[in-house]
Symmetry: C2
Subunit: 287 residues, 2 copies
Amino acid sequence: MIFKQMTIIGVGLIGGSLGLAAKKKKAVKTVVGYGRRRGALHKAVSLNAIDRYFLTLPKAVADADLVVLATPVGTFKKLCQALAPHLKEGTVVTDVGSVKGQLVGELEALMPEKVNFVGGHPIAGREKSGVLAATGTLFQGCQTILTPTAQSKQDVLRQVAALWEAVGAKVSEIDPFDHDRILGMVSHLPHFVAYALMETLSHPQVAKLDPVRYSAGGLRDFTRIAESSPEMWRDIFLYNKTSMLEAIDFYQETIEKIKKEISAENGPGLLELFERAKVIREKAPSK
Amino acid sequence: MIFKQMTIIGVGLIGGSLGLAAKKKKAVKTVVGYGRRRGALHKAVSLNAIDRYFLTLPKAVADADLVVLATPVGTFKKLCQALAPHLKEGTVVTDVGSVKGQLVGELEALMPEKVNFVGGHPIAGREKSGVLAATGTLFQGCQTILTPTAQSKQDVLRQVAALWEAVGAKVSEIDPFDHDRILGMVSHLPHFVAYALMETLSHPQVAKLDPVRYSAGGLRDFTRIAESSPEMWRDIFLYNKTSMLEAIDFYQETIEKIKKEISAENGPGLLELFERAKVIREKAPSK
């Protein structure tokens, strides 16, 4: 047992899956859920993702040894302000958000003395959201990034890492700002790209030809990418603004470069481009 | 039986699947294959995709009632120049290429008198290529576009449509240039977008953070898109240059628009964008 009581703030796909897996692996003794909708929390209990729940934050966190923030990134600051005064000494607070950077320092600063914050990000997800999509194997074989700062304590980091390892994840430690650059490239940029494509196809001048009727597998893969929780992605786009705009700039440069190859009808150049894509394909983890 | 002898030029994924399906549905009596590699053609016979094959073009097409061009688009003109003198009267020539536009008129002009050309494009495909990936159900439920011109004969169009319907496709007739605009948007642009993303991730300044190691499902869907035959895609990019550059311009405008929403931290605007993506998703055929 790594933590006695784990309180999950936001029992959706990620929070619910963590509860399920941590209970199954006996990494925690009790899982408490906090949320705003009683129906969803009730469902979470019946799915065995949590043992019990509270609709009031102070009660939910009062006895927690670990608090996990699993709501959209944009809610973290307010939540931490609200829950901090109710934590007992020695509590560890972590999160599962897709953005780190300066947010980590800001949350750290909101913690009372003798409470430690460790930023975390399990790189797992599905197109579906909500606790009904939760599964005890979601983190099996996935990468989880912890983002320590100068203030982080080694023993606390080790405890949080042990929880993720218990549910099957491979844990790395990365600087919070590097985390945002990396995720900006391999996750946030792809989602941006997919949403931009969908938006292009919605343009009235394009839509009048009803092109989507004649689409096939290629487009379907894109629509799948553009299918996750809108609130979550809004917050990611806003909170990782700097790295995203940097990644988009790179992407725009690449578009101009390939456009030139097409304009110049550079067949060998295009073949080389397709070959380089293979390298990335072979590097991408299969899970 | 719609055609007595069908000769397939290029027995790969699409050509092989057409042979398999047309034989199974008895839409043709005999299927002859033409290609350059004896090994692949031999394999195609053993898979029952063709009945026999020739490595010389004149022999392959001499007795054909229907000739189907199923090689990359860039080879069509040379092939038609080479095979035209060897066709018998009344032969129908069609293709399965992803680009139409002015190429249709050019191929039409290469045909001898009493030979009819009809442009065709089954919107089907898999990431895999080659006859080993061929399947008799590839065209089941897929859209096939025929691209008639002012010179096209109604009875010839009907015959070609009947062949595609026999193998399970839904047939539409679309102007060759509209075809290129439509496919430019829903197929060629998505592939461009995916290759541009892969290329961005290959950039040394990005690659030094080894970001792909931390990628998940989103990126995997992209790598799948960027997995089809390089030669085929080179030819599509080059032959559909005009419509592609037009589609890319639209896409670049959209990128600028979304970038502005991110820069301005326009949360409600981003949520609206994600909502509009849903409309496209619901319109895209499930097969």
